[in-house]
Symmetry: C2
Subunit: 471 residues, 2 copies
């Protein structure tokens, strides 16, 4: 029994999809009459992807699951568990996972556990933990797990609108992974707050208290870090230091918050053991050591000083994971894994032997800090192959830039379409890469129909929206 225990369980393979429709943050600034740099420097964002009327969280997840299976040569029959994390609700009862079953049913595989996990941007992390635990449990049947994070982040007109984005990520789970979980090194913080939530069921837009949400994020980070350090010390027999991790990856609603978060971590680290720090750090951060927690979250001076102290470490340990979130925007559940994908894109096989620490946050709130060990493994499940398969640079480059007016017009259309029935979409697949799924119709019974862009330029392949009562 002990001999069979799977080792180094984690992520074997990844793929990412984001819509080709994009708007530049600089253009949005100008359009919104915002001061120059408000979105690009103030938020730290460069560009934003958005779903046109033919894409949604279901089509994106169908696309990314299909491309992952194809590019890594995985037989759909080899999948024994499939879980989805999302906070973009199209149906309140029928899971996104059941839509994805279409891919597996045609190969005769319906024996696939797992459903959707929900809590804001944290659902993907919950799904990932569940899938890893499954492989390590008695109920594992030797097949792969598959985790999908899919979200479309859209906001009502106002200050939060430039923090949108859209993407889907698929992760294949199994033993002997290049991205292995250090499962004992994990600290969570869960709490009842109303920082960001979606109580207006008829609207796709959230209710957001931006300032509260930022404070909650930083408080959660502090508590997770404290819990993480305790567990590290318990299991490793020595205190945790930032130098024990090579990279830090954060849930990234906008890049500025990632900068603030890492600075907060540096400040927390200073407070844990001030005497071990260099003179410059002591001098800059020492004056803030006596602040209460509440005061410290509000202090602009501390924010500035800690970001300054953290800057060299940020450039080394954080910056390599910021590319996709800055370019695509907030992807909710996919956001942290898009950041992690950016790290693999930038560093690929040089990550072997490195430890990466991730911080996942979902408003409401749920949060966990956890640790991954990156390893040298064989093709196709190697870091260098993952980087090649994801092809991030090409995906970013081949997007089409739209003026803000077009972005806003799309959001207006989607406001009417949200929760609606009995309409056909533009069926315009011209921007989509071959193999991309897209929405063609929602019928009078709210049943959704998708097609896939064929490899020949303009022809498409219809996908049945229903199985038992065909349309």
């Amino acid at each position: 029994m002990a001999a069979e225990t799977p080792k180094n369980v984690g992520i074997l393979a990844l793929d990412i999809y984001f819509p080709p429709n994009a708007v530049q943050q600089e253009a949005l600034e100008a359009h919104d009459g915002a001061s120059k740099g408000k979105y690009t420097i103030g938020l730290g964002q460069d560009c934003m992807s958005f779903c046109s009327d033919v894409e949604d969280v279901i089509s994106m997840s169908l696309t990314v699951v299909s491309t992952l299976l194809e590019k890594y040569g995985i037989d759909p029959k080899q999948i024994g568990r499939l879980e989805v994390g999302s906070e973009t609700v199209i149906d309140k009862s029928k899971s996104i996972k059941t839509f994805l079953m279409q891919i597996f049913e045609k190969h005769g595989n319906t024996d696939i556990e797992g459903v959707d996990s929900t809590n804001a941007c944290y659902g993907g992390t919950a799904a990932l933990f569940n899938c890893v635990n499954w492989v390590e449990s008695n109920s594992w049947d030797g097949r792969y797990g598959l985790v999908v994070c899919t979200d479309s982040a859209v906001y009502a007109e106002g200050p939060a609108r430039p923090t949108g984005g859209a993407a889907a990520i698929a992760m294949l789970i199994g033993p002997d992974a290049p991205i292995a979980f250090e499962s004992k090194l994990r600290g969570s913080h869960m709490s009842h707050v109303y920082d960001f939530y979606k109580p207006d069921l008829a609207s796709e837009y959230p209710v957001v208290d931006g300032k509260l949400s930022q404070t909650c994020y930083l408080m959660a980070l502090d508590t997770c870090y404290k819990n993480f350090c305790q567990k590290y010390e318990k299991h490793e027999g020595k205190p945790f230091a930032l130098s024990d991790a090579d990279y830090f990856v954060f849930h990234s609603p906008y890049n500025k918050l990632v900068q603030k978060s890492f600075a907060r971590l540096v400040f927390s680290d200073f407070l844990r053991n001030p005497s071990s720090k260099d003179e410059v750090t002591k001098e800059k951060l020492g004056p803030f050591a006596t602040l209460s927690d509440d005061e410290s979250y509000q202090s602009r001076d501390l924010e500035k000083a800690s970001q300054q102290v953290a800057k060299p470490l940020y450039d080394e340990k954080v910056q390599p994971s910021t590319l996709i979130p800055k370019q695509v925007g907030n992807m909710y559940t996919a956001s942290i894994y898009a950041a992690f994908a950016s790290l693999i894109h930038n560093k690929h096989s040089s990550l072997e032997g490195k430890r990466v620490i991730l911080f996942s946050y979902g408003s409401g709130l749920t949060s966990t800090m956890f640790s991954l060990q990156l390893r040298e493994t064989k093709h196709p499940f190697s870091l260098s192959n993952i980087a090649q398969v994801m092809d991030v640079a090409e995906k970013l480059k081949s997007r089409q830039e739209f003026p803000p007016e077009k972005f806003i017009e799309t959001l207006k259309l989607m406001e009417h379409r949200y929760g609606a029935k009995d309409y056909v979409t533009s069926k315009d697949s011209s921007l989509l890469a071959p193999g991309t799924f897209y929405l063609t119709e929602v019928d009078t019974m709210y049943r959704r129909f998708y097609a896939t862009k064929s490899s020949e330029s303009n022809s498409t392949h219809a996908v049945n929206g229903v199985i038992s009562n065909g349309h």
Copy 2:
């Protein structure tokens, strides 16, 4: 390491809560002008619990988690994972789990993994599997898991309305359990169908194709049973027979479907090995052996013949689990565990050494057949103590019966309240038992406030709805 591996992981303790407001199915029949026996015999239902304006899935889950911890003497700090299964959406992003964190935060425990699992009535089973896997995984930290199923099933005026109900169930998870998982004995069937779903986001009511949903349920049962038998044979080295299980527990939207399901299982079992069956069974079921699957789902003659053949086995192996579902109605995610709770209520310590097979179904669809081994264990985690703590007979007896007019009036009020803000409830807690949570107010920001019925007759204890920005 191997020595530490937790054994016999499963359910250590249970508690169930359902609202005290009830309506008799016989009275509903008369009120609806339905033929006599349409609901009581046609559906097989006796009575239905429903939430008044002061109860919802959040209040019910707060109640049942509190009572479970109290009655079994569990320190809230001992909980390391908390997961919720529900398909009753009050917020599309903020999980019910975060509301439950209020119970644990006041004891200083916020390091509790898990979120909400969603797919119709199957979410609770997904949460349960996740929690058991967690205990068996490397990330387990030695603490208890806690699974909560909470739902309020309400339907638009029409034939589905009498199939409503409401309840919450909490289950404590850990090793050395009286209710242990046989994790290798598990068959799933997942598929993309539109039998019951909730695409109209502004309404609490589902879109239901009753006939399709019943067929999907029976098809899923067949496929799960096939997969289950394959795994049984692989792991036990002999074919599965119905006599290898002492009890069968089904997801119970209405009792008639449970009767049909068990009859279907008996028919499947006959088809698997006709020669082993007695002459009466061969004579009655033989003529249907040549039907195609589709024909067999439609055949009323088969339905009648198989129910007749199955009757003695149904009375022995199924009937003891039907009490609460017949009395309370469909409880969605809680339904199958309410059926299981009925079995414990009826048979308590006589279940020691018995095998119970459960069939969980969620429209859309996701379904699993799985096996539990019931064991003799020590107080407080014993079958007899669970039966005593749940106190099902007293809970059923102390409900208050309302005329159908009052039930319908409540549903009308709740239609207006669904997704609404800025209102106060009746705050009428007169029917609630001491310790029961109830909704007092939803403010202009949609924030929800709950109180608990105090042990002194009419006084209550306010519970803060928010933590960071108090109300």
